[in-house]
Symmetry: C2
Subunit: 341 residues, 2 copies
DNA sequence: CACGCACATGACAACGCTGTCAGGGGGCAC
DNA sequence: GTGCCCCCTGACAGCGTTGTCATGTGCGTG
């Protein structure tokens, strides 16, 4: 009761295993009659080529690896979805692995895929800043970073700095001068870049940068509800919020609505489902995971053809989606005497 | 510039390849000193065992296949996430493939994984009702169905019929007698079971089953907004909605809120992010993807140990999450004379 | 001291497939 | 008729690993 191998097919159709191999791989020089007989035998036996033997022989497997933080994150789920769709067309399988943001786990997952599975390529969201252990495989396995840049590899990212400034500029144009930066997480270069955009924008508008307006993630966690309370409870509270990532956006939206402050000016970095159902709808910088995923796998396929190119960053465009929450003007400031300034 | 193989390690440490193999696989009878020398060489060379050769030799790979409708669906994304987490602990890789609900694609994906990659097991959300082509592999590769049952395999599902009735019974207890069934999709056994529960409940409460209250998905699509308009525009409109799946729930919630009817009684089958942020919060039957994913992989691991057991259905519990929308009473019916009945 | 046994190690084949090379047969040109 | 080439086919090795079996060494026992 063994699975039929190329040998069984050869016997069944009365040719040598090599000819079967030729038919399976669609090589030209096989007589049509022979091809027909072999195909019939394959059909009859339900033969499926053994991937392991193939990749052992060829030294590289017909799969690509995808290494991300977590599949429970909708952004990454959609990203992988886009990659998988394109990979299917190319006849490539997809191996997913997650890091949980642990650099050591990132290392073992990457090595397992590249050196162990000998995948045809890897798309990954970098955790560690440097990945020296990938050096030996540089010439053999194409690697593309997504979402976050990796200095030694091609990266597909959005213009974090610029998009953040675009969003904040809009808030500023609606009169906001105290804008909270929700969820500054030092671990991510992306977020650091967004924060950088936030800081620089203050200069541009001559606004004072108040550290108290920044919600920090420490040790990987931030209590969204408590932080929202703290910010709104300040003597001089922010009049608008900027959420630096999707998770923070959902946390912020939830806590604002819970306490009946859903009408607070608010722009999120990253779209999320139902953002348009809330009242008001949540305006956001739309960072399309499908666009990013597609760009990444296109880039990977290209690298497979031509591995000699220098690493560079590929910027995927973002757009500012206006849904209402980002167009709420700042309250008119009132002096102690109650007179408008 | 080849990747080091077991041979290079053997040479480097001055032992035979077999001994290296023993060390790598943690076999007992290796002298501590030898083990140390080999481990040092492995470290020095950065040796990683070749998965292809391993699975070629052993006839089965160290990975499990997961075949689902789509990764862009948050339910399946979380499901895969749970599976991947558990697989990592077991040292198994995860190969994801999607069907897009196409039975032919399901077939090729399953065969590719089982026969081609020779995965150690498969977890899949069945599309076709029968999968005769898996018969030859029955004894070799354990297979577990999730979300939807598959007659020939172990299945991990929720009690669709019972959970639906529980939800509808609550709506009925709040006085609703005309309840719309939103998104009846014949393609899914799960949805059929939920619809069955819906129909039977009408009998139990002596309610008339009105076909006009059922929104049908035809050819895989349903215009949620238009359907909501149609239902609410009826002469005798439904006073409550039941959404039979998450996608429908989001579509329904969105269209209800868009037209200012967010206060309509509504229970969804399947939770979704932000369901608790809407006003009122969307009550739902919570079908925990992590619970289901965990149950599925546990079952798969168990089947690997003991493949002889008879296929059966494993029911994962659901809970009814009260958030407001399911506790809205039916409007009090008024006679022509304006007198309460 | 001889024997047996446990322990540590190695030689070799085989897993299923493809790349290399060789060979048989038929047609065409000289 | 002879030589050549092209088309089609097959024999065989080897990819990196592990299972089987064999070998060598040292120690305890009678």
């Amino acid at each position: 009761m063994r699975r039929p191998g190329i040998k069984e097919v050869a016997e069944e159709s009365g040719v040598s295993i090599k000819t079967v191999s030729r038919v399976v791989n669609g090589e030209a020089s096989v007589h049509p009659d022979t091809r027909g007989r072999v195909l019939a035998a394959i059909e009859r036996l339900g033969y499926v080529p053994n991937t392991a033997a193939r990749s052992l022989k060829s030294g590289t497997a017909g799969g690509i690896g995808v290494v991300i933080d977590s599949l429970a994150d909708p952004f990454f789920a959609s990203l992988v979805s886009a990659i998988e769709a394109r990979a299917l067309v190319e006849g490539l399988s997809v191996l997913v692995a997650t890091t949980g943001l642990d650099p050591e786990r990132e290392r073992s997952q990457l090595l397992n895929l590249i050196a162990g599975h000998q995948v045809a390529g890897v798309i990954f969201a970098p955790v560690a800043d440097e990945l020296p252990y990938l050096e030996p495989y540089r010439a053999l396995t194409p690697v593309v970073a997504v979402d976050r840049p990796s200095p030694a590899h091609d990266s597909v990212v959005v213009d974090d700095y610029g998009a953040t400034q675009l969003a904040l500029r809009q808030l500023a144009s609606f009169g906001h001068r105290r804008i909270a930066f929700y969820d500054q997480d030092e671990r991510f270069l992306t977020v650091r870049r967004r924060f950088h955009g936030y800081c620089d924008l203050h200069e541009e508008f001559g606004m004072k940068l108040d550290p108290a307006l920044v919600a920090w993630t420490v040790d990987g966690s931030l209590d969204y509800a408590a932080e929202t309370q703290r910010l709104l409870g300040m003597d001089d509270p922010p009049t608008a919020f900027f959420a630096s990532n999707t998770k923070a956006a959902i946390g912020l939206a939830t806590s604002l609505h819970r306490i009946g402050r859903g009408d607070t000016a608010f722009i999120a970095f990253g779209d999320f489902s139902l953002a348009d159902v809330l009242r008001p709808g949540v305006s956001c910088v739309d960072q399309d995971p499908f666009l990013i995923g597609n760009a990444a796998i296109e880039r990977l396929l290209e690298l497979r053809e031509n591995p000699t190119t220098e690493p560079r960053e590929w910027i995927v465009p973002t757009s500012l989606v206006q849904r209402g929450s980002g167009e709420i003007p700042a309250p008119i400031p009132i002096t102690m005497e109650g007179i408008l300034l």
